[in-house]
């Protein structure tokens, strides 16, 4: 026999409410995740005021995949109606997500798409995100240009999707990638790695890097006094924008937004669906992925405007975009 998957205690599935939504985040060591969680909390508070949302249950801790499996099971046992997860793995949580959806719980994966078919992925297209900055860089260094890449963590699905897309762009544009190094999506590590690369690859024209490391990479380039000759892709984060803003006007870069607010967007979707609305399957890519449009990237053209807008947000602020409850209606079946 199989252990029965009765619906969880309070998950009645009706459009009645009030509902309980669980959030599982398996990594708290970054400002990005902090902003993601506080975006979700902000979005939740209006539903709570309306009495539609009874409780927002947060599972938010540094842990490995096994720990996150436990997080999700804790949420299931707590009887939530929907789960929003920023998964530590693109595939290894499939089983537990399946357990959740089997019990009638809605599951949304943000920031990192998962393969479980019953889960709705909400997020930007990582490949498109990477291609945007890669194309910009290829244009800057031109055909025959030589670059290095500072990646996140090899083997991490987002990293592979991003670097894969960037590689295609570079190949097509005739840009040569001399080598790659992992910066672990960590500014200090990125800075160290870039320092090593600068010393040993003196001939490079540019660096392609991802968010979470670009500030470190740029600092290494500045420390070597080569910010005038080496083109660096950037990130849409205040720390980087500030340094960018301090440079002379002929220093160019690009920052493509990877919004932490997808979590809040997913919350709006979740609330709508809990209240009986259905997702418009025709808009789903690969059957379960809702691709959010990229914001206009930050470039020298709009830097001043963007910077004056976000300057007050603090150094760790990540440029954001959150769809509102009304905005998400576009993804739902309208009756």
């Amino acid at each position: 026999s199989t252990v029965s998957n009765e619906p969880a205690a309070s998950g009645d599935g009706d459009a009645a409410g009030p509902f309980t939504i669980g959030v599982s985040n398996g990594f708290v060591g970054s400002e990005y995740r902090t902003q993601m969680i506080s975006d979700i909390e902000d979005a939740a508070s209006s539903y709570q005021d309306e009495g539609l949302l009874e409780d927002l249950v947060l599972e938010n801790a540094d842990t490995d995949v096994n720990g996150q499996i436990q997080q999700v099971r804790n949420l299931i046992n707590a009887g939530v109606d929907a789960i929003i997860a920023d998964p530590n793995s693109g595939s290894a949580l499939d089983q537990v997500f399946q357990e959740a959806t089997d019990q009638g719980i809605l599951v949304f994966a943000i920031d990192q798409a998962v393969t479980a078919e019953s889960v709705i992925n909400v997020g930007i297209d990582q490949a498109e995100w990477a291609a945007t900055s890669a194309e910009w860089l290829a244009e800057q260094v031109g055909d025959g240009g030589q670059i290095v890449a500072v990646n996140g963590i090899s083997g991490h699905p987002a990293n592979e999707a991003r670097y894969g897309a960037a590689q295609e762009v570079f190949e097509a544009a005739g840009v040569e990638v001399l080598t790659t190094a992992d910066g672990g999506w960590d500014q200090a590590t990125g800075q160290q790695q870039m320092g090593n690369l600068l010393a040993t690859y003196p001939e490079i024209d540019g660096v392609w890097t991802q968010d979470g490391m670009a500030l470190g990479v740029l600092q290494a380039v500045i420390a070597a006094g080569r910010e005038g000759e080496i083109v660096v892709t950037g990130e849409a984060r205040n720390g980087f924008l500030q340094l960018w803003n301090e440079q002379s006007d002929d220093f160019e870069s690009i920052g493509v937004t990877n919004p932490p607010g997808t979590g809040a967007t997913a919350l709006h979707l979740a609330m709508a669906m809990l209240q009986g609305q259905e997702i418009d399957e025709s808009q789903l890519v690969d059957g379960n992925t809702l691709v959010l449009e990229l914001e206009e990237p930050v470039t020298n053209e709009n830097l001043d405007a963007v910077w004056s807008e976000v300057e007050g947000e603090g150094e760790s602020y990540v440029l954001d975009s959150i769809l509102s409850a009304d905005d998400v209606q576009q993804f739902l079946v309208q009756d």
Binding site: E31, G155, P202
Partner: protein
């Protein structure tokens, strides 16, 4: 001849030779690797690990299975507290550093008291503390580190102001010399080695074993915080997990430097060289074009090879 052999058996000398060898190999494969600028850069990066390894050395020397797994997070916390306080202002460096050191001292005190009074083994006491400090960082920052190093601190680390070298190297050398002198020429040093060799014999020789043990863990946290502060001078902004990953390398540096894990034998010079060896190794692997998995594997293999050179324990049949 025998003197040469004796010198070659000294772990510090071996480690130093290995560092030179790695730089030479790097220089042959990628000419820029052995350039003075790159060497200075690697030393700069090694200094963070090296300063943290000071405390780790003291704790390992203190014996009783001494080890401090919390140094990485304590370094991060120190960096966060200092940089949030100084907030990019030179005038606030001193309060920032003092605050960081004060909190670090309390953490070290907690480690030491847990080990001495509650008799929790150091490995797990400091492992638990790793979690506590990680939690403390979240409470203090609310998940956003938001700190900025003061310009003077940045130029100390990133500038080349002292004889064309970064000031942090001078700081590191001074700290290293002071610690070496403290270990060799002070009552504290003698007592530290004594308790590291045999807690019981030391106690029966009138050594205040508990006090010295607790001091070792306090010092460990203090140097960890200093290392973290140096690191925020390098990265300029502070991040939630800035120095977290330096814990196990700091232990590796101590062991590569020839300090006995059982305690009582060794010194800081070896750990400093060990920190340099590890940094050079990582840098070398970065610049050699190979798949990341191969880098990770090679890193492990080389570490084992390094340890096998002289980090071996006694034979049972001598």
């Amino acid at each position: 001849m025998t003197r040469v052999v004796a010198i070659l058996k000294d772990p510090v000398v071996v480690a130093a030779l290995i560092a030179v060898l790695l730089i030479a190999i790097g220089g042959i494969l990628r000419p820029g690797f052995a350039s003075p600028d790159q060497i200075v850069d690697m030393l700069r990066v090694a200094s963070f690990l090296g300063i943290i390894a000071i405390g780790q050395t003291i704790v390992v020397l203190s014996g009783g299975e001494g080890i401090d797994l919390s140094v990485g997070t304590v370094a991060t916390l120190g960096a966060i507290l200092a940089s949030r306080t100084m907030a990019g202002d030179d005038a606030l460096i001193v309060p920032g550093v003092l605050l960081a050191l004060g909190v670090a001292a309390l953490i070290g005190l907690a480690n030491g008291l847990g080990i001495v009074l509650l008799r929790i083994p150091p490995f797990v006491m400091t492992l638990g503390m790793l979690g506590v400090v990680g939690g403390l960082i979240l409470v203090v920052t609310g998940g956003r580190a938001d700190g900025r190093a003061a310009p003077a601190l940045v130029s100390l680390v990133n500038g080349r102001d002292v004889l064309g070298l970064p000031g942090i190297l001078l700081v590191w050398i001074v700290l290293g010399v002071v610690v070496t002198l403290v270990l060799r020429r002070t009552v504290f040093g003698a007592r530290l080695y004594a308790i590291g060799t045999s807690r019981e014999a030391a106690r029966l020789s009138g050594v205040p074993v508990r006090r010295v043990t607790v001091s070792a863990y306090v010092l460990s946290s203090l140097f960890a915080a200093l290392g973290g502060i140096a690191m925020v001078g390098y990265s300029q902004q502070v991040f939630l997990n800035l120095a977290d990953d330096l814990t196990l390398p700091s232990i590796a540096a101590v062991v590569i430097g020839g300090t006995l894990v059982a305690g009582g034998v060794g010194g800081y010079l070896g750990s400093a060289v060990g920190a340099i060896v590890l940094t050079v190794l990582t840098s070398l692997l970065t610049t050699l074009a190979m798949p990341e998995w191969a880098r990770i594997v090679v890193q492990g293999v080389v570490l084992i090879a390094l340890l096998a050179v002289y980090g071996r324990q006694r034979r049972l049949r001598s």
